[in-house]
Symmetry: D2
Subunit: 334 residues, 4 copies
């Protein structure tokens, strides 16, 4: 297979590096309008192809798929052109700048019979997968609520809010775990440093099942925190991505409600048991993500992080942003 | 001075213990409708007075002040009677079950010329005082936002939400640090275990200065967290009350905005310097709180945690609760 | 049963408090040569007996057992007199100031048919018992080595080295876990603050099974550390007594040696699996220790922390001290 | 300048990478007897020279210096030949397999007027340098003792003990901080996995100043620990190299001895103040190390980590190993 990486700035080279290390990927072509960026990559990957002309990539019949790692505002048009040229498409997150564009893109890919994947890399990471298994098996019971914190100092984006920058990670993870998307969302935040660009936000969601999820997002925080707590009716779980060793901890802890009928007053029983930190695989998620895209190119089937996932994330981003601009007003998501 | 402790259940004995250890307090009388509770206290403090009759306390002319540690719903009537009897009054937090009652109580105390104090003990604790000094001296600069987490497993209250149970701590601390009270508040939460009694809540406030503050409150969490981060324009601070040693850490960290005029585009400079954990005094806050009440009895002047503080907390509790019941609708506080 | 607590300074009141709360203990008598100490205890335990005269305690036929919490140098003579008076004896750790005295005391108790217990409280603590179970069941495999750290700032003892002060804890724990006592010991240390009183020491032991154990002891350290690592052939374990929640962690981790015959060179395989923190009981060890003594008084049988345990600890203390005084020379223990 | 890297296995490529990024280094030649290793490097550094013939490197007059990263047993002969060929030499740690060889090498370099450096990289790392400054300025006072732990699971070396593998780091750091080398050393350890190759060792040193230092070294431990505590008469310091943020913490903590003359008994006063974590530079130590070697090539002067440093480390390794083989016997170092 021959894959083209489009956009070779900050993130593209990581995608190129992983593609170059996968045997099934026989050829990699790097494309960027900035020739200097290509020169730098040429030193690392002398066998790759290089071009500043996206049209050449699309007209090259040997190119099977296109991996788009440009700025968000260009995702839609570049991806649409690729599909129109018969290419399979992988586009970085967030998928598009609007839900409407995302829907158009999904329809175009479906009509053309081309695979469409979105780069929600966390869905391929060992802790996220392990936690999904725990939830699926019912180990945590019914999920009462989830609270996630994703904060540190920097880097302020110049065009999008902290929500568009950081929430795609948590949205994709949460929707995957919950197997549902939120019906209501609230966001409150502040633009502390640059007027018009919120750099701290508190986002709350409610899912159709009743589960609530909360995000704390900030580019302006004393310490890097990447902590998600899941409170279930049977067990509780903490996922701390800054930990080197015990990234996932499962607490055999909970409170059970006993029916008040017989006692006149309800009774609660608290339980506190063992804590267990499962061993996690140690592969690089990006590698598996790229392998998954190659598989989608080969089979025409996307198994994870497809267009619908990308769309659901963009819908929630739009809704959260709307709430933020309207002083935390509750926004319903269809 | 002669002080009566009214309500000798869970908390009252702590107040009695501290009063007994203050030399200026010559006599302590313990009052509770449950004689068994008094019997238990009699073993510990054989020299104290004991009575099940509140009216006897009020009619005893030697009693200078009354310390009320009963359930919230009884605070108002007990305190009003005490003031009517010419006693100085200390009432546990939250001060009353409604802002209206709080205002009536404040007016009554003022008219009677009696001291009225509320048991916001954290205002007397070494880390809270140290942080207030830092803020006052301008060490942190302008406060961008504050985020606090107060969660652990249990204890579910049977009559009030997690907001009325836990937020009084954070409200009193935040208002003291900020030297202002919020003008807007939002609260979203869920009653996971007992229908009608929210046990997890996400509360956001906006102060007139523009500062935002966020609380995460829960009786249903895998680990005990008591962490407050303050993000200022000059420095950032973390107050972790579960730490034994480094409860307060100051991060010489920040991001500065440079005017974009000359560059065409704004510039941000990030700064990351030393981390400093100041030594804190190690006294028991409750002891200092009781000494402060005795001083208020002696002088007729309340220097900290008076009626107005108690009222501001109750106002915010009411507003947060109203928001919670209205799906996170923004509530303005006058 | 009627128990007398002899020595009511720092530790004795804790023993008296626990004895007072055990129903089987019908009467407690407190004995100290300092009447002021007794006066303070009288306030807390008005129903207890009080005397400054040890001989009266011994001549009181109703006294079944004596709990000795005086300074080490007096343990031997007080305990011998108690046994001579037909009392069962509990003596605080370290049992005596010399192994010779310990042996004499054991022989006297045996001859008199009286129970002799030593206050190695850690042997009754939930984490130590849980770890002993793990080792007994073979979960850790063969124990390669154990490394323990017990350091913090203060309190310098005025008459004994840091070894006599702190090592009794670790010695009693280690010997209980290993079910053997060391055959060789080394100790190196320094008297940093007070000449002649070593305040930091590094102690290494070798057990007949080949297991090595290492202690780091200090009154002069920046942070309080109470950490013991056990490295077994099957699993590894960390016991951190400063942790509130996860005091014991078991690491499914190890390295296996494969016979080199077939490969020409030996092969090692490393394994890293789950981490598990078992729930621990939460009772007060001192309470269980006192209950155990009462049981020993009742039945005449000591089930844990008897004279032989106390003797083995004193033997190792003597040997370690001898090594320390001889620049780390290896001392054999018979 | 033209530098040759000799030995391109595990570590050599890191040295080559850093040399390639230093502008003053105009040419890098990679040398290894294994052509496959060179092939791999050729992809990364296509402009470098490559050879399997060490003699060619030495006979190439354009080569100014040789960086030796082969196995320890070959250091001496390769370095001697390089000096005989007039090259400046950088040799990885430990410098040689014996102190005698180290002395011969130092003499040869001195006679030939060539720079000789040893790869004790930690001496160029920001935390080690910052701590040295603290000690030099007297901030910690007189150093009472230092305790270091360097343990984790793996990697077992097949030819040397854990002492020769891990202690070079701590020896070089300690000798640099103390500005002296130990006069006495003890080592006790065990070969738990492979007979004849100790994989856990407890090493204690005494310096002429009286300071004691202690190392805990192991390839067989449940968690990675890289913690060094320095206890001074004025302050205490903890250096934890596994921490991302607060690698160095200074505790304003100590105990002061007051002369007993006037009181009859000595008095100790304990002090516990602020904790301070200084900001550290974030450069890569290896880069600075290589720059330092290039400077030594240019000027003929070695400013840090020269032959004498390498020799002092090898002397202590030899002495520690001798103690280990003699059951912890104290070994004097001249």
């Amino acid at each position: 297979m021959h894959i083209a990486v489009v956009g070779c700035g900050y993130w593209g080279p990581n995608l190129a590096r992983n593609l170059n290390s996968i045997p099934a990927c026989k050829k990699v072509t790097c494309c960027d309008t900035d020739a200097k960026k290509l020169d730098r990559l040429r030193l690392r990957f002398p066998d790759n192809g290089f071009t500043t002309d996206y049209d050449k990539v699309l007209s090259d019949a040997s190119v099977d798929g296109v991996v788009i790692a440009t700025s968000v505002s260009t995702h839609f048009s570049l991806a649409m052109k690729a599909i129109a040229s018969g290419k399979h498409v992988f586009v970085e997150k967030p998928m598009t700048a609007s839900a409407k564009d995302a829907e158009t893109l999904i329809a175009a890919a479906a009509k053309a019979g081309r695979s469409l994947m979105v780069g929600h890399t966390f869905l391929f990471s060992p802790p996220v997968i392990k936690i999904k298994e725990c939830i699926r098996k019912g180990e945590l019971g019914k999920i009462h609520y989830i609270s996630a914190t994703r904060v540190n100092l920097g880097i302020h984006q110049k065009d999008v809010s902290v929500i568009w920058d950081l929430a795609p990670h948590d949205f994709s993870i949460l929707f995957d775990w919950m197997d549902e998307t939120p019906s209501k969302i609230w966001a409150i935040g502040r633009d502390c440093i640059v007027k018009g660009i919120p750099d701290v936000a508190f986002v709350t969601m409610e899912f159709p099942s009743g589960t609530q999820a909360h995000l704390q997002l900030s580019w302006l925080a004393p310490s890097k925190l990447r902590r998600t707590a899941i409170v279930g009716s049977e067990k509780m779980l903490v996922y701390d991505d800054t930990e080197n060793v015990e990234k996932v901890k499962i607490f055999d802890k909970g409170v059970h409600y006993k029916d008040p009928e017989t006692y006149g007053e309800f009774q609660l029983s608290y339980r506190s048991g063992d804590i267990w930190s499962p061993r996690l695989d140690t592969y690089e998620p990006l590698q598996v993500e790229m392998e998954s895209f190659l598989e989608a190119v080969r089979t025409g089937k996307v198994v994870k992080s497809g267009g619908e996932t990308g769309l659901s994330v963009v819908k929630s981003l739009e809704a959260a942003e709307e709430s933020l601009k309207n002083q935390g007003r509750m926004i319903s998501i269809s």
